[in-house]
Amino acid sequence: MSKYDVVIGLEVHVQVRTDSKMFCSCPNRFGQEPNTMVCPVCMGLPGVMPYPNREAVRKTVMAGLMCGCEIAKFSKFDRKSYFYPDMPKNYQISQYDLPLCGKGKLHVCGKGFSGAELPDKSIGITRIHLEEDVGKLNHFAGYSGIDFNRAGVPLMEIVSEPDMSSADEAYAYLTSLKQIMQYADISDCDMEKGQMRCDVNISLKLAGAKEFGTKVEIKNLNSFRSAHRSIEHEIIRQAEVLDAGGKITQETRGWTDDRGETYLLRSKESAHDYRYFPEPDLLPMTFSDEDIAKIKSQLPELPEQKRERFVATLGLTPYDAQVLTLDKTLSDYFDEGAKLAKSPKMLANWIITELLRELNDRNIPFENNPVPVSHLVELVELVSGGTITGKSAKEVFSELFAGGKTPKQIVSEKGLVQISDDSAIEKFVITAIEQNPTQVKQYKEGKTAVMQFFVGQVMKQSKGKANPQIVNKLLREKLDQC
């Protein structure tokens, strides 16, 4: 693959979370009965007029600020004309030459989806603009049905520069974008609910060549993983064509997860003529420096700032910080816990190695995490303070998932308090030695590894509650005495 440079640009659509739709007061809600969230305006009845949603504009500007975009001092809406049944007016109110947000960038780094290290890199953003979403088409045998609930929902379009050169970078970009949207409460970016959609533009050129190759568009991607897989597949496909001396035709391709391949949707011989012109029913938007400063002051702490803070003031490693800031609810969870915990680093470890793993194994998304952070902090303290062993802690942790009880309650109910009394442990040690003369002989012969066996025996007797350090110390003493 190093024969070719891969050039990838992403076009991402994000639904803005607002109470009402973009140009009418219908509720902006997902999952409702078809055609129950509609009115004459969003159904394009004759004589209706649009009226823009102030909050959608504000959130779009916020998104732009979070990506370091220039905010337009003067912006307007335009009509984008094309005929399609999910378009109530057969034109979409969008933005053409004066979008709300101009050039910006997103930073990617760390580990890629494939596991490889990502180069520390800035992906350019060309623009962010605001438009209205279209209805939903349901396909049946021989006919289709249209549901206009989604028509008119505010939609942000984020266009990246063709700065990405691998599937990993694209995945990281999408993740970064999602983080930002969640952090600013702009969108949950749940791809399954259609809140975030992604189109990929990808082309190959000979390594080092100046001119870009012919680009292919990939649509109908319903997850970040699909985006990743489709890019990797498309790179191979295009390389094979070029290697064989063929030419890439400009086309739009779809992706099927089942077959793991892209397929032709349509050739793009000619570009669509959208006949953009300024929307005469809507007036332009202007932003003064004060307006922008005000919105800026409403920005939440960005993921990157959070990560820096976690590392600098809470003693986390960059990897810890990366994992904990993937999701806003998760980072809030940790932040809250860090206030209560004696050792934020230990808490972070527990969250990463135990909590997230457990949630993953049980297929529970973080938002449904049943363990309150105060419980986890308490558990961590019980371990670090020596009240229970690490092994017992794992037992307590499973119980926490059932919910209801605090770690202290579980420990006391199950009698898991660590045995740290020397004389009690001594009794176990002596019993273990007396019961296993063969292993004592082996130890004496120099097989120090057999120590583990004795530790196991003591743990068995103590039901895992004996303090491991004391066990080891006393075993060594007693065995040496034999």
Binding site: P40, M43, G44, L45, P46, G47, V48, M49, P50, Y51, P52, R79, S81, F83, P85, P88, K89, N90, Y91, I146, A271, D273, R275, Y276, F277, P280, D281, L282, L283
Partner: protein, 489 residues
Amino acid sequence: MSISVENLTIHESASLLADKKISSVELCKAYVDRARKLEPKIKAFLKLNEEEIFSQAKASDERRVSGKSLSPYDGVPVAIKDNITVKGQSCTCASKILEGLNSPYDATVIKKLKEKGFVLYGRTNMDEFAMGSSCENSSFQKTANPWDTNCVPGGSSGGSAASVAAGEVTAALGSDTGGSIRQPASLCGVVGFKPTYGRISRYGLIAFASSLDQIGPITRDVEDAAILTDAMYGRDSMDATSLPSTNESFAEGLGSLKDLKGVRIGLPKECFEVEGLDAGVRKIMDKSIQVFKDLGAEMVQVSLPHSKYAVATYYVIATAEASANLARFDGIRYGKRVKTDGLLETYLETRGAGFGDEVKRRIILGTFVLSSGYYDAYYTKGQKVRTLIRKDFQEAYRKCDVVLTPVSPTTAFKFNEKSDPLQMYLADIFTISTNLAGICGISVPADVHENGLPVGIQLVGPDMGEKQLLRISHIFERNRPRKEFIPGI
């Protein structure tokens, strides 16, 4: 019923209703009787639902009896042009493609008229989607000019103008994009008023050219026009382009001018140089100028140098906007769908069958001027010339208070006389600039031509200048009352 209703104005009706000399039911019945008699010849109405009319009139009478009238005009009938939505009524815009549509909502102006108790009286004929200057482009019927039924009433609000002129109703609503209220008003010998763009809400007006359209009254006198404008204008939370309310009443103090001393009336030299301006119309203009002079007004020569580009500019901008506004008429969600097996065919055949020739012409022209490669040369250019036209008026208003021009170069022409589309477009030459500049204009009857047909004059006022415009019109009307030259009054 001894009261003759055919020339009754809104304000006269209000007095009669208040004095209990007539009831709303009686008033409406008199009009309905006239309509029944005259409609076979005039065909101004696409729909005249007597049941709906009388139920409103009855409710009005009941309110009046219990002292709960909604306004002094509660019970006065107003006809509605068929491109303004009324909940529960059809709204075809005189087009086949909207046959069967029943509107689920009221236009804002309709809400406002209902709040004042006006009786909504039928739906009037028009050129299809307001595209035309003769009402001949209606897909359903041809409306005749009440003065000469071989002639057109003008357009696109031909039905509204004819119904008022013929005395089939007290007043009517029309819409004006390039002169569609003022021109038919002039051709039918009634008053037609287009306020400043944004004054009256467009929510519920089926859009033709969004940056040019305005709803306005067609009435028998200037006071009625002021009354209806008062009832309808103001900021609307459903129309982002509607102007903030100025809390003024246009009817108040309408007759307060005793003369026109100190008032400067601008005469644009380009208007009087127009080639097709009929000599008889010219004579009437001169007579009207004399009326103004006699009232003490100063006539000032002004220039609107870009007038000659107004029609071309209009046909670029209006058709561009229309091509997008009419894209939604595809038979998918409402209206008449031609059922086929394929989606593309559904669009093509529904629109092919549903739209008339003039509409198709304008959609094609509009689509073309917006299309790739032509946008700058046509659309952007057109918008820039529009700026120049606005500036012309701004300059003129430094020297004068209102501008005086003819409304139409000729009197009402015969059916099929203007078969060449371009000829028809040029009929709007005097009215179009007002829409492009977004300012207010009114057509007031001035005289009857030697050929027996009425001629109106046009007064054009600056942005937001309705008050003065209406007062000047009113004093002209007082000195040139309709009954002096219109038979039957």
